[in-house]
Symmetry: D2
Amino acid sequence: MRTRIHRIAAASPDDTDGLNKAIQEGNINAAHVIAVLGKTEGNGCVNDFTRAFSTQTLTRLFADELGCSTAEVTERIAFVMSGGTEGGLCPHWLVFEVDETPDSEASDLPGLAAGIAFTRNFAPEELGRTEQIKETAKAVNAAMKRAGIASVEDVHYVQIKCPLLTAARVSDACKRGKTVVTSDTYRSMGYSRGASALGVALALNEVNLTQLSDESVCRQFDLYSTRASTSAGIELLRNEILVLGNAAGWDPTFRIGHDVMEDALDAEALDRALERVPVRERSLGVEDIAALLVKAEPASSGKIRGQRHVMWDDSDIHPTRHARALVGGVLAGRLKETRLFVSGGAEHQGPDGGGPLAVIVRNLRGSAIKASQKAVPSKS
Amino acid sequence: MRTRIHRIAAASPDDTDGLNKAIQEGNINAAHVIAVLGKTEGNGCVNDFTRAFSTQTLTRLFADELGCSTAEVTERIAFVMSGGTEGGLCPHWLVFEVDETPDSEASDLPGLAAGIAFTRNFAPEELGRTEQIKETAKAVNAAMKRAGIASVEDVHYVQIKCPLLTAARVSDACKRGKTVVTSDTYRSMGYSRGASALGVALALNEVNLTQLSDESVCRQFDLYSTRASTSAGIELLRNEILVLGNAAGWDPTFRIGHDVMEDALDAEALDRALERVPVRERSLGVEDIAALLVKAEPASSGKIRGQRHVMWDDSDIHPTRHARALVGGVLAGRLKETRLFVSGGAEHQGPDGGGPLAVIVRNLRGSAIKASQKAVPSKS
Amino acid sequence: MRTRIHRIAAASPDDTDGLNKAIQEGNINAAHVIAVLGKTEGNGCVNDFTRAFSTQTLTRLFADELGCSTAEVTERIAFVMSGGTEGGLCPHWLVFEVDETPDSEASDLPGLAAGIAFTRNFAPEELGRTEQIKETAKAVNAAMKRAGIASVEDVHYVQIKCPLLTAARVSDACKRGKTVVTSDTYRSMGYSRGASALGVALALNEVNLTQLSDESVCRQFDLYSTRASTSAGIELLRNEILVLGNAAGWDPTFRIGHDVMEDALDAEALDRALERVPVRERSLGVEDIAALLVKAEPASSGKIRGQRHVMWDDSDIHPTRHARALVGGVLAGRLKETRLFVSGGAEHQGPDGGGPLAVIVRNLRGSAIKASQKAVPSKS
Amino acid sequence: MRTRIHRIAAASPDDTDGLNKAIQEGNINAAHVIAVLGKTEGNGCVNDFTRAFSTQTLTRLFADELGCSTAEVTERIAFVMSGGTEGGLCPHWLVFEVDETPDSEASDLPGLAAGIAFTRNFAPEELGRTEQIKETAKAVNAAMKRAGIASVEDVHYVQIKCPLLTAARVSDACKRGKTVVTSDTYRSMGYSRGASALGVALALNEVNLTQLSDESVCRQFDLYSTRASTSAGIELLRNEILVLGNAAGWDPTFRIGHDVMEDALDAEALDRALERVPVRERSLGVEDIAALLVKAEPASSGKIRGQRHVMWDDSDIHPTRHARALVGGVLAGRLKETRLFVSGGAEHQGPDGGGPLAVIVRNLRGSAIKASQKAVPSKS
């Protein structure tokens, strides 16, 4: 079994040239694709339609490619678009391909394992509250099972796309006599991301159910997951979940590790995450990184290492946009690469002002598979 | 003789608490101050009034402190406010103090030398054109002379604050039958910065007069200075110039070096700049840095190391804002410090997509002065 | 023959519920649709992907409805999305349906006539220059012919969707040794809109060819059309043209008139436009208006009726966004209706600071058709 | 006794040319000025420093003019700067001059009466809560008394400038173990405006104390004042209040009336407000209007007269900015004048989506004073 990822730059939210080419040339088998994570170039906030535009475009491409309906595509592939490529970030897609054919020759190293799951659609009044937490935890467990990851210790990254409240959805709840967690659409994104992250923390035993209530969300920030990355969008009503970890029986060409950025300047989290990738010999470097996934947010203290930042006080550029630009710069300066999946809004995802960071390496050193079994070179 | 710099964070454009305290406690002698460089928290574009607000506030503070008129303050101190603290940058001021009392004991190391000069006021039709270039070059030479820097090789940084065109100034020129370089006020900032930078390049023999014409400005980008940093603001009509270099006879506690960021990810320019600071033994590190001054701009190719950036295509956030956020992140990630003077709009300042970078170190190792002669600890 | 228009609000750029319902209920015959004009809720500038998202969504809807390919849809329907619903404007679509079946009973009043045409794709170096002007004029004439409008006097509105330059397109031209009119992507929108409007002016004898050169575009603003409305978007490479006028032989239920707003406050243009709609008795009022189409732009003088406006000096909100908000407010305050097609960027479209305004009325009074022949009530 | 107002356009937040000229020419007596209301050209949100910049500039001007300290100026003149001149609005100041010399000849018409008062400074934890409501009510009563307005019926407008929370102020409260109403700085502006408006409603008997609690603020929107206009700014810690009404014994050259815009398109509120201005004969028209003051906000329903608006869902431009642009357009289109005091954020000020509107007329018709006693022509 093997999970492969392909990192493909996009010239616009509907630019499928790179993906199409990879499919036509046989580098990607459309039937194996289980998830596409994307950084799109909108504002990453409420009225960022680049996410839905990308999703619509990709869904159609896969429907045409697979000869099925778009509804079927939606059930087999998780599309998780995260808006915002501030600073120097490059809009791009990470395509996750899973081939479940067992390898004839087992490796003694675990390999990258991936699985997806979806919750049911949420009612507006459930967003940012306990219902969303519990349903998310259930779906994380389901995705782990599909990926064949037995222990929560082996989960290194859980990506979730979750809904937000719009004026229309708020109004719908009100008409039915229900309250919503907030009527501020922008803030609803934070609540939905926060509840989803707590769902991951619950599933991974980072918090337990007795600690959680409706009041926990976006208030008790000492409760958090070190592996959740959640992103809200207007284009869906359910949570879509992608779990990544290392597991035996999977081709170890791709492997994953994670750590937590303690604050926005903690570039060293990258080194610590690399150290947690299973290896036979210690030899991984930034040149082995095939994908970097990280959460960014402004410190609520208004300070970074004792010095003031203006992110919260700027009413022209949203705090999440500043934070992505900053963390994108910190990591791109280190990696010399701008195709980084830097996602804003890290409520209950890592400590205040920091966030989880995961690296996926593509590296054959220390792998048991023979050269003849090497994966087809990916776009990355 | 000694030049000292103080790095003081600001809670708002008119926050003088830190500066006031330093003066009251005797750390800063107001009568010695020749320049204040500031990062203020506006958008750094046309309607950024935080620059003028800071300048007005500081001018008044020094007038009260020195017991003179604000007009006199304006003639003795250059206030160079650069707007924009995107990402994690911290609004702050760099206060330059010069004490021209000769040291009794000479050092064999050169020390930080600083001098200021002003051009005459420019007419709107002169901005972004040859007149601005030539007048600027003259003033750079005058500032060098005041600083006692004999050779252009010893100049490591030239900071210029220059005017921009507003709708009213354009209209004024038109009424007098004159043309302006552009009637787009935002673009006029680039022309003014560009012509000012070419003035520095001319003064420092980086280009010669035969290469220059009105047509050069913002067109021939292969003509540039490696040491100019120019910043445009609505609040002045002349160019204000601060020249920094190393020269014999100056206290070497503070010294300066520079290099050029080849692109926005070139964090290594920092190391190269440190290597150019005069030392007796090779021992400088990022911990010695008292101030970092750098220019940022988006690559005109639309790419960074082969990957697309969205800075030019984003109509919500100006390209200069993206670029400051990015370069600020790259360097703050390296230095673990956000009080960096990152200035946007690097026309004719370093290569396309990059920019000059200067470091001022505060370091007694390798200095001939005795411990008893140590400078009063600065705020930085 | 009859032209009917339907005004349908949209909850998002991909909200087809209203349109779908109108088709399912028989109010709209998809096979008769020749054009859809839309106000979408993006920024209306370079990175406004709501336009392309709407276009992609609508194209697919009509392909499904008509049982043809999306390529075929693109050849039979002009989709002209104009971004920007600032202030109180409501995102909406204006669907133009043409039924060419001759009426058995002729009316003595002319009725609304509509025709579309497309130019060839433009190369980046042609945008904003004479080639774009001439090709546009040819296509306007072609569209008039299709609409059966014989005299240019009877043309009251010409809507054009035109391309813009992106960093990639500029780079493409440069590689082929060509120059582009500007390398600033935002400004390229103005050049493309301007050249397209001059193409309309040329076709309608408002200017003549000897007056025009590459230098005219966005410089000689005394050359303009009183009936052009042009809008630039990233999603196309050719000009798409919709011509509207009154002509004999068309059902007079819908009729059109136009005038010019002399400046942003000239709400009275609405009354003057109404007076130019053909009637049998003088009885039209704002309650008869089925659609309002108007251009908005900031006066280049920086003033409105002698008082300063800040649109040009604001670097946070683009001038076109301010202008749409203003003109939208002026007209919505008069009409008590926010579903107005207010489009920004009026280069060569009406006088400086003003713009063409067209009203389409839906009114049976003064019409010769009998009650039994009344059009199916439209969504508007 | 007479109150006069002067409407003076500003070229920038620190442009005092017009005001200076009026003082030098004797049109304004600086010693009589009790308040300056200003529209400044910032974003009107948290980081809008144009308000403080104007205030600092004007305070200094009056200190120089009156030969007193800036602290004294602050105690005698209320400076109420409201940021945001979106759309076509013109930055300007309304200078209120009060001459308390009794008129020898009484008029049978009441005239414009004005009075100011200040609350004590508020602690961060008091903002947006009952304390702010009660203190404000007390200060409104004090200002009425100073203006000689006996009945609350004769109050037509109460302008308040109130503080907001910054990250630093929130942190200060937290350190002292206090909670704040919100830690979102932008939202704190709404709470402060809302509590201040409820203070006016309380003082004017529009609500009573038993209806009010901490929970009322920004929740019970059916509680509101029809005459409050409140504006939040970073530059002060107390509420500053200006009460305007008509009272006997005041020169009737200037008089005031008010009504409520029921929604953003309700331009007719202008006519209704004019009808409420005391007159001897019914003859007032828009040409008599010397100043217009109005509040704007987006309807919380997300709709205007049944059609969707995007103000709440736009994360690039704040809702208050959209709303000012819209209402500014609606009223400027009617008045043909852009120097309108349109202030955003109408929490508890008029009904949801609407806001109080006051007109000050300058009109001698129907006044008992003789031509020889005519006021010096104002700048307006």
